[in-house]
């Protein structure tokens, strides 16, 4: 799937640029894209290093496991393949909580930690996503958001009478999206194993 999407964007991009008579933008755009990617990764070093340290403390002190135990009823349903009290559970919960609160720069490192823990549980091909990873990413990208911090800031800058009035609509839209994500994940997993 990702192969087709990737190839599709590359091929249509180059062809459309050629048809529009400005094929030279392709080279520039490719370089810019690569630069943005490297900058993003470099910026991540700082924040991931920091949160990995904190997470190690929380894990050694037994806090991550305690959190995992607390939310067990929900996580057992969503991630049946992850053993209870596994550090992956704690990291998943922390990532989703940070998402819900709109704490973008804490949620990404937590998410990467969760992925590492899930990869440790991967008994199949290490290059292929596991069921739990697919569920986690579906939840992560569609997670309920209580505070969309960035957009509230922008509304404020441009003189909105009530910058936070979109909080309710955002909660509604994300709740719908999250429900769809859980349903689609289950459905696609079923189809995936049936098709094999």
């Amino acid at each position: 799937m990702v192969n087709y999407i990737w190839l599709g964007m590359m091929v249509t991009g180059v062809l459309v640029a050629a048809i529009n008579g400005h094929v030279e933008v392709v080279t520039k755009a490719a370089l810019e894209g690569a630069q943005v990617a490297v900058h993003t990764a470099i910026d991540l070093i700082a924040i991931i290093t920091f949160w990995l340290g904190i997470m190690k403390l929380a894990e050694t002190a037994g806090l991550v496991q305690a959190l995992a135990r607390l939310l067990q009823p929900i996580t057992r349903f969503l991630f049946p393949s992850v053993p209870k009290e596994h550090p992956a559970m704690g990291a998943i919960i922390l990532n989703l909580s940070a998402n819900i609160l709109g704490l973008g720069n804490a949620s990404t490192p937590m998410g990467l930690i969760a992925m590492q823990e899930l990869q440790k549980l991967n008994r199949g091909d290490p290059k292929e996503a596991t069921d739990a990873m697919c569920t986690f990413l579906a939840l992560n990208t569609s997670c309920i958001t209580l505070i969309p911090t960035t957009i509230i800031g922008i509304r404020l800058i441009y003189g909105s009478a009530d910058p936070t009035e979109i909080v309710g609509t955002t909660i509604f839209a994300t709740a719908m999206g999250m429900t769809a994500a859980i349903c689609m994940d289950r459905l696609l997993r079923y189809l995936y194993y049936r098709g094999r």
């Binding site: 990764a41 704490l103 990869q119 990873m133 579906a138």
Partner: protein, 179 residues
């Protein structure tokens, strides 16, 4: 309601940074040593994502700069206008899963042009607030552990994005009403 949630948001991280080391200390953990031990993996984790991010962001960048994105918008907007979806926000809807920075730029531009309290301004605010950069998140998360076969997760992510989009349009019509 909003005040409480907003305070929670502001306090969450400082409280974590206060409580985690304290509790760890009480439980007999060598806090400094353990922190450094955990943090050690940070550099490698971040660097490992570079090839995956470069692959994805280069494709997105070419697709956008070539004008292919604008063409897609041109084809889709007459259809979507029929179901009450304003053509002005379509570039945002298409860009949202691909690039966080670009979609935020589009949202900012729309808010600046139409005003934050116009129907379109409120709709695009809801859309920006309610969805995530699906492609970026998938590439980054899978990339950090070296996974290149995503199975069905792109489809489920995009279905969720699409549902969120429809829900945003629906709730914005209900609450703010197009004028």
């Amino acid at each position: 309601m909003f005040g409480v949630v907003s305070d929670l948001s502001r306090w969450a991280i400082p409280i974590v940074l206060l409580l985690v080391p304290l509790i760890a200390m009480v439980r007999g953990v060598n806090v400094f040593e353990k922190f450094v031990e955990g943090a050690e993996a940070g550099f490698v984790t971040a660097i490992k994502t570079i090839p995956f991010l470069v692959a994805m962001l280069v494709a997105i960048s070419i697709f956008r700069a070539s004008g292919a994105l604008d063409m897609l918008v041109g084809v889709l907007s007459p259809v979507l206008n029929l179901v009450g979806f304003p053509a002005e926000v379509l570039p945002h809807a298409i860009m949202r899963p691909l690039s966080g920075g670009a979609s935020l730029g589009i949202a900012t531009d729309i808010i600046k042009t139409y005003g934050p309290d116009s129907f379109i301004g409120r709709l695009v605010s809801t859309m920006q607030g309610s969805s995530d950069t699906t492609f970026y998140v998938l590439t980054l998360y899978f990339g950090s552990v070296g996974i290149s076969r995503y199975r069905y997760s792109i489809i489920s992510g995009l279905c969720a994005d699409f549902t969120t989009l429809i829900a945003s349009v629906y709730v914005a019509h209900k609450l703010f009403g197009p004028t």
